[in-house]
């Protein structure tokens, strides 16, 4: 399926570019007019705010005009990068982000594959609905549930004790080594059903004739999954992967902030929390902006790298 796509693309590339002429513009003027509001929207909400980045190079004081601000160059970036905790915070952000990325992808794809095999519609819908409902809960509720289930008399310890896997309750939130896992697992619980939807949609668009043909060839369930379903959703997977790579420094904020405590702070603090503590909470908006710029630069770089890699591998890509 993706072969035909890339073939089409190749054909398109070979076509000579139509030169931009007045007649062409005139004939497509409706399209151009229609895009104007969108352009305005994007300029207004995506480019104008970039102006605020100047804050990162000032000692920004609110409620003063631009000319009244003092310029300090890279002072805030220096503070950010030289602070002892920054490396630790960066490591935590990347660590949790990668765990979320990998877990999020694999679990969503596996669940989608399994759901796709269910033939009873009612049952399938029920499972799907139950699995995506937690998506609508806010993190503050989810962390409340997580904290309660992980308490020493919570359900997790209760089950493990009854199964005689452990002898006494484990304090899950008191040891740094468990924390990333806890965050990853909570993400999976909350988002797996929601992430599945797009894969199920992609699977629905696979030509049933392919399955029929493979059945005639004697393919079993697993072979059909492996050779038809997975390749069928490959393009979707790659696009989503590229998009998520762009968010690699967004490990989240609420979970770590709400579940973290003094004992595990070395493992739980992320860039966002650091920026909140030393930027926003101090009224130091410049530092917060510097943190934001750093994240954006990394994200854009990662996005391009991923996109370029996908192109090299001959896969579908975003840009």
């Amino acid at each position: 399926m993706d072969e035909t796509l890339s073939k089409k693309r190749a054909v398109r590339k070979q076509k000579k570019k139509t030169p931009m002429t007045w007649s062409l513009i005139k004939s497509q003027q409706q399209l151009i007019w229609m895009s104007v509001p969108l352009m305005l929207y994007i300029i207004l909400f995506a480019y104008v705010p970039v102006w605020g980045w100047t804050m990162a190079f000032q000692d920004y004081k609110p409620a003063r005009s631009f000319s009244e601000q003092t310029w300090v160059g890279f002072k805030h970036f220096k503070f950010l990068f030289t602070d002892d905790s920054f490396l630790r915070v960066l490591r935590n952000t990347l660590g949790m982000s990668i765990i979320n990325l990998i877990l999020g992808f694999t679990t969503a794809i596996i669940l989608a594959l399994l759901l796709n095999e269910i033939k009873k519609v009612l049952w399938k819908r029920t499972v799907q609905t139950i699995s995506y409902l937690p998506h609508f809960l806010s993190w503050i509720i989810v962390t409340g549930i997580v904290a309660t289930s992980l308490a020493s008399d919570g359900i997790v310890n209760d089950i493990l004790m009854r199964l005689h896997i452990i002898d006494e309750p484990i304090l899950w939130l008191s040891e740094g080594k468990y924390f990333w896992g806890v965050v990853g697992a909570s993400h999976v619980w909350k988002e797996v059903g929601w992430n599945t939807i797009i894969y199920l949609a992609a699977m629905a668009s696979i030509d049933p004739a392919l399955y029929e043909a493979s059945e005639i060839d004697g393919a079993n369930r697993y072979q059909k999954m492996r050779h038809i379903t997975i390749p069928g959703i490959k393009a979707t997977i790659v696009i989503l992967l590229i998009m998520s790579v762009g968010h690699i420094l967004e490990a989240g904020f609420e979970v770590q902030y709400l579940l973290g405590n003094g004992l595990i702070v070395d493992w739980s603090e992320t860039i966002d929390i650091f920026v909140l503590k030393y930027g926003l909470a101090q009224g130091n908006y410049s530092l917060a902006t510097a943190g934001g710029i750093f994240k954006t630069v990394v994200s854009v770089t990662m996005l391009f790298i991923a996109n370029w890699t996908a192109k090299r591998l001959g896969e579908e890509r975003l840009i």
Partner: protein
């Protein structure tokens, strides 16, 4: 051509529509503020001699609930003074919310006090306006006038809500910090006098041994809450143990402040905690739990003791009372290291400078708002705001004293009832008379001695009789006169300053290392403690102490009479 122009027209319409959507989105702020002011403008028209209605938008810097639309106190204010108050409560993080408000200079008419807003120039200076338009407020704050001035520029921006006292000071409920212990523990051992930390933990250990479970759940000896900003349970105890009042992160001696986190008397306390942890008295989950879990444990009645501020766990105690577990409610004990130290937990409430209302620069008619506050500070209104309506919410007995029936008392602890019948949101932050009214009645039902006693349950009456006390406040020594600069914790460290960064760092270090030190094997305690103090050594503590000392000096110079 005709077709062409038609489609052009259609396109143009779409374009216009979409543009207007965008522009409407942009202009939202203005439209809203116009909307807020409108009623005032139209109201100017009907001048039939009655009070002109006007609306005040008020931002409350904490979460809360809207009063019911027919709330009887707000209704009276509206009928007699014309003011309708529209509250906006904080939802989410205060720093984030303030950041947004400041960035857009989008302020309502009144806002609760916050140093961030002061730094952003969001409040108008009030001193001249008060002199001119608000004689009652001027009289109310007379004694405290200099204290209310912002140390950075000498203007008055905030009208403090607590700390201004009139007449005799009645106090029967203690809201502050203490080592709390379940009444059952004291009862069990024949109502002993507990003065020192060692005696306290001995009692807890003995009781826990005798009753390993309470109502089926394991007994928790000592509890510590160290969650988010509620971390004083872990951090503040050492200063009290050496007989010092609550100054936040520093101990002030003879006008000089020093950080106490790394001092020997702090170490002594944490070493003791380490010891009781190895004895199994400390809750295993102490440093893992959040506030809700902490409150749940206290409400269960299984926690024998903790260090905390009374107002912080009040709701848990209310729940114990509702469950009828009176013996599981708590007594505050002013513990010290040894008996020669005089305890200084209870203090004379200082003026709280970071709390109360300020009027914003966007307020259209600050004079009118100020005049409203001026009227509301008069005794008649204060009685309504605090006690309620005579006959409905309280009764006046033959001696002219205010009392309540049991039903009226119950109403005052009923949240739903309060939303319809009390102006608590406003009153909490408004300037208020504390102490007693000119007729001798206490300004607050909880502070009216006979009313307080009449509200006692049988259990408490017996309990206090055993000690020979009138109220639970008597467990504490009488507070001495406050030092001029007290308390140091209200000092503004200035947004974005080195001192503030250091304060955050110190806070981070304590929440990180103290739990480790306490949970360490007793043989490892020294090592963790040394790591902690050496980390503190790396931080610019001096910048922090300097800022506080500079402000203490400023207070001594400007506040002394």
């Amino acid at each position: 051509m005709g077709v062409m122009s038609k489609s052009l027209l259609r396109l143009g319409t779409i374009l216009l529509l979409s543009l207007s959507v965008i522009l409407a989105g942009c202009g939202g702020g203005d439209a809203k503020s116009n909307g807020n002011k409108k009623p005032e403008q139209t109201a100017t028209g009907n001048s039939d001699g009655k009070v002109e209605p006007f609306e005040i938008s008020i931002f409350i810097g904490e979460a809360g609930q809207q009063p019911t639309p027919d709330n009887k106190v707000y209704k009276k204010i509206k009928d007699e003074l014309g003011a309708t108050m529209n509250f906006e409560f904080l939802a989410g993080d205060i720093d984030q919310k303030l950041g947004v408000m400041i960035a857009g200079s989008d302020y309502p008419d009144m806002m609760t006090g916050n140093t961030k807003l002061t730094a952003a120039g969001a409040y108008i200076p009030l001193e001249d306006l008060i002199e001119e338009h608000a004689p009652n407020l001027k009289k109310h704050y007379e004694e405290y006038w200099n204290m209310m001035k912002d140390p950075n520029d000498g203007h008055i921006y905030i009208l403090p809500n607590y700390g201004v006292f009139n007449g005799k000071l009645n106090s029967s409920w203690y809201a502050g910090p203490a080592f709390w212990i379940q009444k059952a523990v004291l009862e069990e051992f024949g109502y002993p006098q507990v003065k020192t930390l060692d005696e306290y933990f001995d009692l807890i250990a003995k009781y826990k041994e005798k009753y390993p479970t309470i109502d089926g759940s394991p007994t928790i000896g000592f509890e510590i809450l160290n969650y988010d900003w509620r971390n004083w349970g872990l951090l503040n105890a050492p200063q009290h143990l050496i007989g010092h009042p609550n100054d936040g992160g520093v101990v002030v001696k003879d006008g000089v402040a020093e950080l106490f986190a790394d001092k020997d008397y702090a170490k002594q306390y944490y070493k003791k905690l380490n010891e009781i942890n190895s004895l199994g008295l400390l809750d295993k989950e102490a440093f893992v739990q959040n506030y809700d879990q902490y409150m749940a444990k206290l409400s269960n009645g299984t926690v024998l003791g903790m260090f905390d501020q009374h107002w912080n766990f009040q709701t848990a105690e209310d729940s114990l009372t509702t469950q009828g577990k009176l013996e599981r409610t708590y007594v505050g004990l002013p513990l010290v290291y040894d008996e020669n130290i005089r305890d200084h937990y209870r203090d004379r409430a200082p003026l709280n400078l970071n709390n109360g209302f300020g009027i914003s620069v966007n307020a259209k008619d600050p004079v009118r708002i100020l005049k409203l506050l001026d009227t509301l500070i008069t005794e008649d209104w204060q009685k309504i705001l605090s006690w309620g309506f005579e006959g409905e919410d309280y009764i006046v007995n033959e001696e002219g004293r205010f009392m309540k029936t049991q039903e009226q008392r119950d109403n005052f602890t009923d949240g739903t009832w309060k939303l319809a019948n009390k102006a608590d949101t406003f009153f909490k932050f408004a300037p208020k008379i504390e102490g007693s009214f000119s007729d001798g009645n206490a300004t607050d039902a909880a502070a009216q001695p006979e009313e307080y006693k009449a509200g006692f349950k049988e259990y408490d009456r017996k309990f206090l009789e055993a000690y020979g006390y009138d109220s639970y406040v008597d467990f504490f020594s009488e507070p001495p006169e406050n030092a001029v600069s007290y308390p140091a914790w209200t000092i503004d460290l200035v947004e974005g300053s080195e001192a503030k960064v250091v304060n955050t760092k110190l806070n981070d270090l304590s929440t990180k290392y103290l739990p480790r030190a306490i949970l360490a094997k007793p043989s490892d305690f020294e090592a963790v403690w040394n790591e902690y103090t050496s980390e503190i050594g790396k931080v610019n503590v001096k910048a922090y102490e300097d800022r506080i000392n500079e402000q203490i000096k400023w207070r001594i110079d400007n506040w002394s009479k």
